[in-house]
């Protein structure tokens, strides 16, 4: 690290960042289409099917339309903050990908406190929404922003506590270390307790995983928790006054956050790049090929979890606001505290130490 030429390091990091951003953007284009297709499929519609074969190019057509339209700024809006809000959302939506390990060694920044960094960046996401809602100088966006602020702050608490159970199991906050900890057979994944000797923790970790999934839905304002943009009550919530490119930025940021949450579930509970069986037989293979295959495994897990997010959107009816708060503070918070106590107790007092 000390010997490497700073200019070379700069170039390599910049290249890595560009690669990740392009990968995420391209994936988003098709995942967005998948989201609409799944939603349509559940409702027995066809979904977008005009642009390109099976509608594959729909997202690109939408992109062109968004960019070419006029940006309308409402009179009385706080112009700077109004335009800053979607930019902040976009940056925060992408900045979290910096610590996500795609394969052994394939990570932009191998931070020691990677998991805390992810938590911090997802907790900052609320600013884009609350700033956009306030700067619009209009009632519906403001109500949406206030709802969203309360909702995201509430569910961060349970997300943080559930993450602690994973940190206790892996003994590290470094995401690469957490993934390596789950190498080998499928029962080494954290959702199964992280190894056969910890199999007692299986029910605890399955509950933790379920709660993390639900909290992730709430944290990213996805249905059934999409109260900030509940169209039947608030038209479109904080996005009412946004048009063209700023709206596009909001939407890209939202989907980037969703996919990031899918990646987080895969890394924390489902072994990240580990396919679920020992990969010793790849010892003689070229390392690039092995890494590429492992990255594909990770990608498959992300897509699976995105499918689960899309299904939740299609199937589950929207929560009422007081029920949402009740679930966050009166159900998830005490339950996740108990889970942390159980995992910590097992780690300290278990007969099979370690």
């Amino acid at each position: 690290m000390t010997e490497i030429n700073p200019l070379l390091w700069f170039g390599l990091t910049l290249g890595g960042i560009l690669l990740v951003v392009i990968w995420v953007l391209l994936s988003l284009a098709f995942l967005l289409l998948a989201d609409r297709k799944i939603w349509a499929g559940v409702q027995m519609r066809k979904g977008p099917n005009v642009v390109g074969p099976f509608g594959l190019l729909q997202s690109f057509a939408d992109f062109g339309k968004f960019v070419l339209k006029e940006i309308i700024i409402p009179a009385g809006a706080d112009k700077v903050i109004f335009l800053l809000a979607p930019l902040i959302s976009l940056v925060l939506g992408f900045i979290g990908w910096a610590v996500v390990p795609f394969a052994p060694g394939w990570v932009v920044s191998n931070l020691n406190v990677g998991i805390l960094y992810l938590l911090a960046m997802s907790s900052l996401g609320v600013y884009g929404i609350i700033m956009g809602g306030w700067a619009s100088n209009s009632k519906y966006p403001f109500l949406g922003a206030l709802r969203s602020a309360a909702q995201m702050v509430s569910y961060e608490v349970s997300i943080g506590l559930i993450i602690i159970t994973v940190i206790l199991l892996a003994g590290s906050m470094n995401l690469s270390t957490i993934v390596e900890h789950q190498a080998g057979w499928i029962w080494n994944w954290n959702v199964f307790g992280g190894g056969l000797k910890n199999i007692v923790l299986l029910p605890v970790m399955v509950i933790a995983m379920g709660m993390f999934y639900i909290s992730a839905l709430a944290e990213t304002n996805r249905p059934p928790f999409d109260l900030p943009e509940a169209e039947s009550e608030l038209v479109a919530g904080y996005q009412v006054e946004y048009s063209s490119t700023p709206y596009l930025l909001f939407m890209v940021a939202e989907y980037s956050n969703i996919v990031l949450m899918c990646a987080m579930i895969s890394v924390l509970f489902f072994g990240g790049w580990n396919p679920g069986f020992p990969i010793d037989f790849t010892a003689g293979w070229p390392p690039f090929l092995v890494n590429f295959l492992l990255a594909l495994v990770f990608y498959a897990k992300i897509v699976f979890w995105f499918f689960m997010f899309a299904m939740a959107k299609a199937i589950v009816p929207r929560y009422r606001y007081d029920q949402l708060m009740r679930l966050g503070w009166k159900v998830f918070l005490p339950m996740s505290l108990v889970l942390v106590a159980l995992v910590a107790g097992w780690r300290v007092f278990s007969p099979v130490a370690g």
Binding site: L116, A120, S123, L124, I130, M131, A150, V153, M173
Partner: protein, 205 residues
């Protein structure tokens, strides 16, 4: 090292400038946003020192939770800015005096620490003593030497929280609340009643 120096001066400048703008901004919402900028660049300074755990905690706790609630409250307040500025000239001398005393104290502390404090002995404070990462190092100190203070601080916060809840929690009579257990346990037997109505009489309660 040059890169670090550039990063330091950039972050330090942003922190100080944002701090100045917090007090000089006309709109209180802008003030809170500048406060958030100041927090954020302070976290960047922590990272430069090698204290990444503290930096992340600063962002999660202050920026992610506390400042959101600030913003939440300030946005909903309807503040009369003219009324706020009324006593400005009257309070200027005493405010300036307090600020001056604080500035002199800070300069004295900083100079004495830099010249004959611990900081002069080793130019940079050790962010990872004994080969531990600083997360582990903080944990080892916090749960051994300072466990009493740590727990006491937690209790103080708990008491404050309970106090706030006790002050605001009111059960008004006549307010209908949702009891999910009750709803789920409801059956046709408990939920409805079959009544035979004779013509011309209606139902008597």
């Amino acid at each position: 090292m040059a890169l670090q120096a550039i990063a330091f001066y950039l972050l330090a400048f942003v922190t100080v400038a944002a701090g100045l703008l917090v007090v000089s901004a006309k709109n209180p919402v802008h003030s809170v946003l500048f406060l958030i900028t100041a927090f954020f660049s302070a976290a960047g300074l922590f990272v430069l020192l090698g204290a990444e755990f503290l930096a992340m905690l600063l962002i999660v706790v202050y920026v992610g939770a506390v400042a959101v609630l600030f913003l939440f409250v300030v946005m909903m307040l309807d503040i009369d800015f003219e009324a706020l500025r009324d006593g400005f000239a009257q309070y200027l001398p005493i405010g300036g005096l307090v600020a001056g005393v604080l500035t002199i104290e800070m300069i004295m502390v900083a100079v004495s620490v830099a010249t004959n404090g611990k900081a002069s002995a080793n130019a940079l404070p050790n962010a990872s003593p004994g080969g531990f990462s600083n997360t582990e190092a903080i944990g080892r100190v916090l749960y051994t030497d300072y466990v009493f203070f740590f727990q006491a601080a937690g209790l103080v916060l708990l008491v404050a929280m309970i106090g706030a809840i006790v002050l605001t929690l009111r059960h008004k009579p006549g307010v209908k609340r949702q009891d999910i257990g009750k709803q789920v346990a409801r059956t046709p037997k408990t939920g409805m009643e079959l009544v035979q109505i004779k013509p011309g009489e209606g139902i008597s309660e």
